[in-house]
């Protein structure tokens, strides 16, 4: 090209955001559930004899694993047709693998959780439990792989088109899981310290992967840098990531030397969840505002209804309700067993 053109876009059609906040909620909860299942499986197979830790981990995993698929089906514009995934098997697309892994994952986790409670109350242990643990871990790995690849193969959105995408998703979910585990422990300062150390490792890994991704000489790296150059809102989101990362790092660092007080542990869990959630929000929703061809960005404001705030608050509310219901049911049984 020998001439340089000054181009002004006068008339165009922006594209609507078609993956909704439900997808963010799904990626948030399924990531934590899968990481928790992997961790619980390692605990179980190492026979580390920390039934309490395994119980807590499974509680986190199971509640997230029930919430996630509900959010996912709501993201379908034709929710009632979810059975089409089974009627028309399509192995070459990543998405339908979710329809296979998700129900198996939740079912294995549920059975494992039940087996653990039965062992606790009846002192009867089942040999199948360790195979349930393994099956949960395998389906968890499948979920992490498929969710990551389903997004990162989309070349039309070059920001997504990177192998680092699934790794960043995995590490951010794992660090959030550690923070949740720390806040749910009572006492046990040595264990808290160990978990804080692991959380710091995953945070470090996450920073390394994100820096590598953004600076990479890849289609994705270039697209991210272009986005940051052109869009002030992209820079605000990046600043948000950095602030939350530093808060998580700082609290994790303090936890290495002294056990955190409860309010600080809650803050640690909230900042970890916020970082994990904001990463998914930025990558899944905000990236859809980046135009594929136009100069104009696709406009998006979060609506108040079912496809907006209600989706976000509703799924978090469901998760908290599930935590309370399951925990209180188990505790209720425990009390009854104690008092005959």
């Amino acid at each position: 090209m020998t001439h340089s053109l000054l181009v002004e876009e006068v008339l165009t059609r922006p594209q609507e955001i078609s993956w909704l906040p439900w997808a963010v909620q799904y990626f948030f909860f399924i990531g934590i559930a899968a990481c928790a299942a992997l961790f619980a499986c390692v605990l179980h197979w190492r026979k580390s004899d920390s039934a309490k830790l395994e119980n807590l981990t499974l509680l986190i995993a199971l509640t997230c694993a029930i919430t996630a698929p509900l959010a996912l089906t709501a993201d379908l514009h034709q929710t009632a047709r979810f059975w089409h995934f089974y009627a028309y098997p399509t192995p070459w697309s990543w998405m339908p693998w979710g329809a296979l892994f998700l129900p198996l994952f939740t079912a294995f986790l549920g059975l494992w959780f039940l087996a653990l409670q039965l062992k606790r109350f009846t002192k009867k242990s089942y040999r199948a439990t360790k195979w349930l643990a393994l099956a949960s871990a395998l389906t968890a790995a499948g979920l992490l792989l498929y969710t990551g690849r389903e997004v990162s193969i989309v070349q039309a959105r070059p920001i997504w088109f990177s192998y680092t995408f699934p790794v960043a998703m995995f590490l951010s979910a794992f660090h959030t899981f550690f923070a949740l585990l720390i806040v749910s422990l009572r006492g046990e300062p040595a264990l808290q310290r160990k978990l804080a150390l692991w959380q710091l490792w995953t945070l470090g890994g996450l920073a390394f992967v994100v820096v590598f991704w953004v600076n990479g000489d890849t289609l994705s790296g270039v697209a991210i840098r272009d986005w940051l150059t052109v869009s002030a809102s992209a820079r605000h989101y990046a600043a948000g990531w950095a602030v939350l990362w530093f808060i998580s790092l700082g609290l994790g660092g303090v936890a290495l030397f002294q056990p955190l007080t409860m309010p600080l542990r809650i803050l640690q869990a909230l900042s970890a969840m916020a970082l994990c959630w904001l990463m998914r929000w930025t990558l899944l929703i905000q990236v859809q505002t980046v135009p594929k061809f136009n100069a104009q960005f696709n406009p998006y404001t979060l609506p108040a209804g079912t496809d907006g705030w209600l989706a976000i608050l509703g799924t978090f509310g469901l998760w908290i309700a599930l935590l309370i219901i399951i925990r209180e049911t188990v505790n209720g049984f425990a009390r009854r067993m104690q008092h005959g």
Partner: protein, 244 residues
């Protein structure tokens, strides 16, 4: 039983067990989407002669009427740009009609989790909206913004080259209504078709959008500056009212 008889029966057993696998091999369980419907004797494509486009949006309107898309949702439209060569006074307009490119390597098709969107033998990419689950994976995968979720059917929607009209010998609504005759549809398999002849005659000047994506688009542009074949973000001033 003597040994030869036993051997014979053993071999028969192996043979029949093997035979049961034959139908499985013949069934050719597919591991990639296959083209279906339509005739492989045609390959429909569109040439847009921008020298004839006046940006009147008659195509936009006639398509919306023909295909009854919901309010505010369009299968085709015409982008408009104001262009100035740096250092020169004169300003001109560039008009860019946009629609599904009916790519030969359509990235929207393999991602569909239920095979609701597929490519016909004649190259036209369509959506079976009775099967579509509305996951919008294809909307994400299309590099051309050609797909959208139709909020009346809550399924993926896109240009079909008005296949229902082509099949009864009519032109697509946008071609029929084009004031300057800028949109030319035809069969690339027929060397005497106008599109095939024009593509041949203007071979060097023909452009497609985002050729670097390897999608092999089958909507061709004549008279399009190379500036407009790749994404404009950061290279063009967005419409005056937008802040990013």
């Amino acid at each position: 039983m003597d040994s030869s008889k036993r051997q014979f029966l053993q071999q028969l057993g192996i043979l029949s067990a093997g035979a049961s696998l034959v139908p499985l091999a013949q069934a050719k369980f597919p591991f990639s989407p296959e083209r279906r419907e339509g005739s492989a004797r045609h390959r429909y494509a569109m040439l847009i002669d921008l020298r004839r486009c006046i940006g009147c949006q008659a195509c936009t309107v006639s398509c919306a009427i023909e295909n009854q898309t919901p309010q505010g949702e369009f299968r085709t439209h015409v982008n408009q740009y104001q262009v100035q060569v740096e250092g020169e006074e004169s300003v001109t307009n560039v008009l860019l009609p946009r629609l599904c490119n009916h790519c030969d390597n359509p990235p929207c098709v393999p991602v569909c989790p239920v095979q609701a969107t597929f490519q016909r033998e004649d190259g036209i990419v369509v959506v079976d909206n009775t099967r579509c689950v509305g996951c919008a994976y294809c909307v994400q995968a299309c590099p051309y913004d050609a797909r959208f979720i139709n909020h009346e059917t809550q399924t993926a929607d896109k240009c079909t080259f008005c296949v229902h009209r082509l099949e009864v010998g009519l032109l697509p609504a946008c071609v029929e209504s084009c004031v300057g005759g800028a949109r030319i549809i035809g069969d690339l398999q027929d060397p005497n078709s106008r599109i095939a002849q024009m593509l041949h005659a203007h071979h060097a000047a023909i452009k497609v959008l985002k050729p670097e994506n390897g999608t092999q688009p089958h909507v061709f542009y004549l008279g399009l500056d190379e500036t407009f074949t790749t994404p404009l973000m950061g290279r063009a001033q967005p419409a005056l009212w937008q802040e990013v």
